[in-house]
Symmetry: C2
Subunit: 201 residues, 2 copies
Amino acid sequence: MKIVVTVSNEDEVRLAEKADIIEFRLDLGNFSFKTDKEKILTIRRKVDGGSFEGDENERLKKIVELSKLFEYVDLEVDVPEWVFEELKKNNKKIEIIESYHNFKETPNYLSLKDLVENRRGDILKIATLGKSFEDVKKITRILLDYEKVVAFLIGEKYSFTRVLSIFLGAPLIYCYVLKPKAPGQLELNFVYDLLKKVGLK
Amino acid sequence: MKIVVTVSNEDEVRLAEKADIIEFRLDLGNFSFKTDKEKILTIRRKVDGGSFEGDENERLKKIVELSKLFEYVDLEVDVPEWVFEELKKNNKKIEIIESYHNFKETPNYLSLKDLVENRRGDILKIATLGKSFEDVKKITRILLDYEKVVAFLIGEKYSFTRVLSIFLGAPLIYCYVLKPKAPGQLELNFVYDLLKKVGLK
């Protein structure tokens, strides 16, 4: 299990000491990519909770171009097949995190199951708006039934599902330093200390 | 959701400030029962991880006798029906925590399901030895499928399942002050701060 810190500037890179992986959010800032940690490349679109509003083909081309510098690349579930293929062709060892965001609701279990079973990425990341305990149950069942899935609910009230996900075997937990990058994201040092305390780190 | 502190002496009662409920372990010490918090009465037998080695009928009679002073009473799954009836007859509002301990293994899902469906207590507490991630999955499924169940794995390595249980709706989490009373029990202030941080307290 690895702790990811999502960063928007170089200061945050420097503060991410306790993280295993840095997620560089190129829609939020510019970076030199200098770090001895593993790196995730993400250019998040506005519709998925990011800031990128440019041309989609330009975005995909930029991702392919920069991917050589990274161990992981984040690709949303609607990204066309050629991008997945191109990335794997360029670097067999690259790990693709296929991401699904839903800021309106958490779909039912069967829809989520469908998402997982049709995934093309090495890891599937599911982030959906939490409204009730039923939503907690849906993602818990997904975590029980599938491996290499990160699944949690968006929203302050459901920040605990990020920890729940790790407890149930998720390979990654996304944290912040300085400023949360998503509603309910937890702070790096808090997560590190918690996982240390319960012996998971 | 309520935080329980299991105590073996008066010092621990005084240190349990952040707890909602005090579990008085009469097999471990003597008490005046002075507290403004809710109280659980427990006389744990050696076979269930406690220190009581006396006559079983004496134990049960003592539990019935003292129960008037308590909001909750802990009765193990093999305690005869008359004790449950007697407690409810004496005090309709008393909540019985029916407890199941297994220091050898975590039984399969169907056995645990059987336990839950045949419960006589208001709350069922399942504490079983954790050996693998499969055991985590078993108790997680139970927590998803039933309400008013506390289920966690015994052992340092699985202390996180105590938090997992709360995340999945368990009504109680058992903690310690000064000294753990069971392998993997978490410290009161740590649990309080964690639950506060994720908005569950």
